[in-house]
């Protein structure tokens, strides 16, 4: 079972004040911490679980600059066999279609039974790249998958639908599957583990190696402007010390008739 997993490094934005950049096309990132996109963490884990069960290899791929190698090293430490980074100094000049084309060019030359991506990236929240790759590569696909079983050269997958319903289908391999969070419990990675994984192969390719011209990658969707959420009335704030807050809290509950 040879599996390719596409991963992305994204900023941690919870409990952080985001600042819009001067061009109003993105956010300032110099003060932010970065992590492996949560969905991709589950995707790497799922690939390694299948590899441990059926043998084969796991290759992690990302598109980005040297800083983005961090998520490849993490993937290698989790158990991926090798990694590939496509050198692009500034990925913000591409849209999801462009990124899907770059990744597809890498994947088409790799032996693979399965390609995994996360359902979504935590930064742009687009959720497009995976299924576009499937179409670029003319590969079978399944979206938002929460369980995978391999049987007789096919994958039996559960896709998450709305309202607590799952849809089970059988797809022929090779296939591209977008992985939903919660599909497994991603393993812990230690700093020592990351250091040890430094011996594994991390190959760097550029767009010329892949034979893609800039013209092919010109974006079809353009971010005109980004901005902070428009002001709303918002919540009425309860303030003061915890004691005062608790009293006000109980008063609201009493008024709403949920305190006996």
């Amino acid at each position: 079972m040879d599996i390719v997993v596409c991963v992305k490094r994204v900023p941690l934005t919870e409990e952080v004040d985001l600042v819009i950049d001067e061009q109003k096309k993105g956010i300032k990132k110099d003060q932010l911490a970065f992590i492996l996109n949560d969905w991709d963490n589950y995707a790497i884990e799922e690939a390694i679980i299948l590899k441990e069960k059926y043998g084969g290899t796991v290759v992690a791929i990302t598109v980005g600059n040297e800083d983005d190698e961090e998520v490849l090293r993490r993937s290698l430490a989790m158990g991926a066999d090798r990694a590939i980074r496509v050198e692009v100094s500034d990925i913000s000049r591409f849209d999801s279609l462009g990124i899907s084309k770059i990744l597809s060019c890498v994947v088409k030359d790799l032996p693979c039974d399965l390609v995994f991506t996360g359902v979504l990236a935590d930064d742009d929240n687009c959720g497009i790249v995976g299924i576009m790759m499937a179409e670029n590569l003319n590969m079978n696909h399944a979206n938002m998958v929460t369980a995978i079983e391999i049987e007789d050269g096919k994958a039996r997958v559960t896709s998450e639908l709305e309202g607590g319903l799952g849809e089970i289908s059988l797809i022929d391999l090779p296939a591209l599957i977008t992985i939903q969070t919660g599909i497994n419990e991603p393993r812990y990675v230690s700093i020592l583990g990351i250091r040890k994984a430094a011996k594994k192969e991390l190959k760097i390719m550029n767009l010329a190696d892949l034979g893609i011209s800039d013209e092919e990658l010109s974006p079809k969707t353009i971010i005109e402007e980004v901005y902070l959420p428009p002001e709303t009335e918002g919540a009425q704030m309860l303030t003061g010390d915890p004691d005062k807050i608790a009293s006000d809290f109980i008063e609201i509950l009493t008024k709403k008739g949920v305190m006996e």
Binding site: P11, T13, E14, E15, D17, L18, I27, S96, L97, S100, D122, D123, N125, I128, I131, M132, E135, N140, H141, A142, T146, R156, E160, L161, E162, G164, L165, G166, E167, S169, L170, I171, T181, G182, E185, K220, T221, I222, E224, V226, Y227, L228, P229, P230, T232, G234, A235, L238, P242, D243, I245, A246, F249, I250, I252, L253, K256, V258, M259, E260
Partner: protein, 326 residues
Amino acid sequence: MSEIFVIVEHRLGEIRDITFEMLWKAGELAQKLSYTVTTIILGHELNSIVDNISDRADKIIIFDDERLKNFNADIYKEILSGLIEESKPTLTLIGNTSWGMELAPCLSVKTGLPLATDCIDIMFKDDKFIAQRQMFNGKIFSNVSFAESKECLLTIRSGVFPKDKIGDRQAEIIQKDFPLTDIPLKKNFIEFVETAAGDVDISQAELLVSVGRGIGEEENISLIKELAEALGGVVSCSRPIVDKNWLPKHLQVGTSGKSVSPKVYIAVGISGAFQHMSGASGAGIIIAVNKDPKAPIFRTADYGIVDDLFKIVPVLKEKVLELKKG
């Protein structure tokens, strides 16, 4: 005349709410811009579905065939790309749902049309369409345009537009034959499964104490259980808690979990991603405790407490217990 396509989403014989919401937005734009609204339905035995929307569109194109009984993104893509090629609709609206998000990206590649996903509004400014969407889990908004393309595909977030009828339309109904001669059956539907079955039904609770990622560690969940118990309420949670296996799936509030409608919804350490909030939109009031003052939940909550939950929850619990002792 320019045309807006709305792709109907239905499941187990019922139209999904997102379809009505898309028809509302399409209707509103069509009124303003003198466009027409065309809905496309793929499926099998569709009469009741057609009846439900016949006064919301100018044209309904129906592909009714046994082979379309189950949703299949590849078959949908093949049929729809043919229709889009033929009619060149200015906008094609698809639900930003699990199915819609499998269909839209491959339809975009196949047709060569640009795609903006999870749109929360569509605007027409300076002679071009702009899609409004969110990034960074709602902390940033963005306006997206479509380069040189006159046509585009948009997936629409559930719950942002009304389900109401807008304008007065009477649809011309067009039945079409299944157009594909060769179906590469790459994916076979097996069955639907209930993924959120359990012994507690949070959708019936009057008071929910809901816990999110902010709780930090599994052992801290007991804090929430104790508060819920003191208040006589029921514990529920957001997705990350279920992903980590700290609470079972049937306690999850949100798009992929349950929709709830308690009198009071207490959200502790929940940032308020829309997938979660859409499940809590039926609540009488929402009280949120979160230490991030910029957490999106404070935009929809009625009452907010910006503080450390570990300071507030224990004091609250003690006070409630004291009061009950009377």
